[in-house]
Symmetry: C2
Subunit: 339 residues, 2 copies
């Protein structure tokens, strides 16, 4: 019977039923089916039932793309992040995704490894798949980016990094100021000569800002800088260099807890006591940082709440058409026993 109504070919070719098929089987117009599908008023119960059972019989489910074409909405936002394989970004995205889902928005993630070309290419891909907004990590300086955005008239939101000098709103940290908080703490503890271990600065605004904040502080008699990949092994290696240098510093400020962990392992191997001989300060407050030996003093960036704020602003913008508000978030000093 269905065969007759739908045409045998359709059954055989295993083609999905369309709204018009449902209309035909139910003996109503497509307008009515659409009304039933979207719970619109002015449909009698009798017809509603007929349509429902036609839907049931045909195993019909509406086409998301056709819907998107009409409504102009995909309910999708894209996020460009350096990597997922980093606790900080993962924590941010986890909170972001949950909150976006709460607002009926979907998250497409695209990783860039901090490479500007990949960043722009992935931004293009995200727009091509219908993203309604873009979340980026730090400013994107590639010249094509701005043009891409203005062509597509799409909201952009900068995260992890707060700036008031960008055409785009930002929700993130004033990284320079936050590293000063750590420096104040070290200074208060009487440290005068310190070493800083940081991740790659190339294409990384966050790290550069943190370093800028440190460089602006003139109170210390000596600050040495050490660039390392964000890995425990690199932290170990950097620590080896630092403890060998003449005029060994009394404190090491690691711009990532991962590096700090490496340093602690290395110092422990060398039986250098923390914080008596060398104090260690981290950055990120990863989940294990409270459990190291001694527990690591660090800086907490509440990236989960950043995720929530970003999702909320996107919801305002996309679902209520209100402009996005920039927000500068605070870092919090967490004093434990490594300093």
């Amino acid at each position: 019977m269905l065969d007759n109504l739908m045409g045998i070919e359709k059954q055989n070719k295993n083609i999905k039923a369309t709204l018009r098929d449902v209309a035909r089987v139910a003996g109503v117009s497509s307008t009515t089916v659409s009304r039933v599908l979207n719970d619109k008023p002015n449909v009698s119960d009798a017809i509603k039932d007929k349509v429902q059972s036609a839907i049931e019989n045909l195993g019909y489910s509406p086409s998301p793309t056709a819907r998107a074409l009409n409504t102009g909405r995909t309910y999708t936002v894209g996020a460009l992040v350096p990597t997922l394989d980093n606790a900080i970004f993962a924590r941010f995205l986890d909170a972001l995704e949950k909150r976006l889902t709460f607002h009926n928005l979907n998250l497409v993630i695209s990783t860039t490894d901090e490479d500007p070309k990949t960043e722009v290419q992935n931004a293009i891909d995200l727009l091509n798949m219908g993203a309604e907004a873009l979340i980026v990590s730090g400013e994107i300086r590639h010249p094509d980016f701005d043009q891409l955005i203005s062509r597509n008239r799409i909201p952009v939101i900068i995260t992890s990094y707060f700036t008031s000098n960008s055409p785009y709103p930002s929700i993130g940290y004033n990284n320079a100021q936050i590293s000063k908080i750590a420096l104040n703490h070290l200074f208060d503890r009487g440290h005068n000569s310190i070493a800083v271990i940081h991740g790659p600065t190339k294409h990384n605004d966050r790290t550069r800002e943190r370093l800028k904040g440190i460089q602006e502080d003139k109170r210390f008699s000596s600050i040495t800088y050490h660039e390392a990949d964000i890995s425990i092994g690199s932290g170990c290696a950097a620590a080896r260099l630092i403890i060998r240098q003449k005029g060994r510093p009394s404190a090491i400020f690691c711009l990532s807890d991962v590096l700090a962990l490496g340093v602690m392992f290395e110092l422990s191997r060398k039986s250098i006591s923390i914080p008596d001989e060398i104090a260690i300060m981290g950055f990120d407050n990863l989940s294990w940082s409270a459990h190291t030996n001694p527990p690591l003093s660090t800086i907490e960036l509440s990236v989960a709440s950043m995720g929530i704020k970003v999702a909320d602003e996107l919801n305002q913008r996309l679902n209520k058409n209100k402009p996005i508000q920039s927000q500068a978030l605070e870092g919090q000093l967490i004093i434990r026993h490594s300093t």
Copy 2:
């Protein structure tokens, strides 16, 4: 001039130019514009130029949704994972996303916290936004799920978990067998009485399978089981219980490196030497596991290569229409100094 051609309203209302606008401005048909956009043959260079500059002038960019409606493709796959805030899943997704991008596919991530209802609801959302395939973590037992899939006729792939008893293909680990590898190692080292610390088993196939593998092993005189949340603090707490129990085990097998790390911290605080007094075996081989003191023996699940394999199969299925091949992946025993 553009005003005249496009109609002043369009300019004022700031409406995006469409392909037909481009056609009008360039003085050609929409077919031709489409040809130019898609690099199709049989367009003269002169016309190609005219179209290109019309596109430029109007700041035109094609509508992804209209395209999707025609081609029937969204180039999007959805992944349902328990959480992003877990190194193992993050590492998997990082590799998966990169490889999918390589295959011209986009990844939408949806987190479920292992809750079956959320899982199904999010699956619905993913399909509603146009996902062409679904990646799930372990089997989904909610009754609505199978119906949803058959209605939408969408490929599903089970990951992290290998099974041959599912209607869906799976690419993952035989968790039961892998925990046996660890047990063999402990047995070979002469351990006879062991404690097992594992994460929540509710709704978690992976953990249950790992436990099943352990329970099938009858060689040990005593095995005690301790459930804990996957966190360092819970690992510490579980360790406290275990070292207090009568007939203290000679080895602790943690079904997650995170738990193992907590145990090591606790034992270190209690000055219990590893592995002499108690041996520790982990599971996951997280990045810091090689750097603990002593370095942690563990099991490596190459989740990054799992991500690549999943992406490759999806590419075969979606872009070449070949069936998905199930694959059982091997875990690798990594012997360091904690056992």
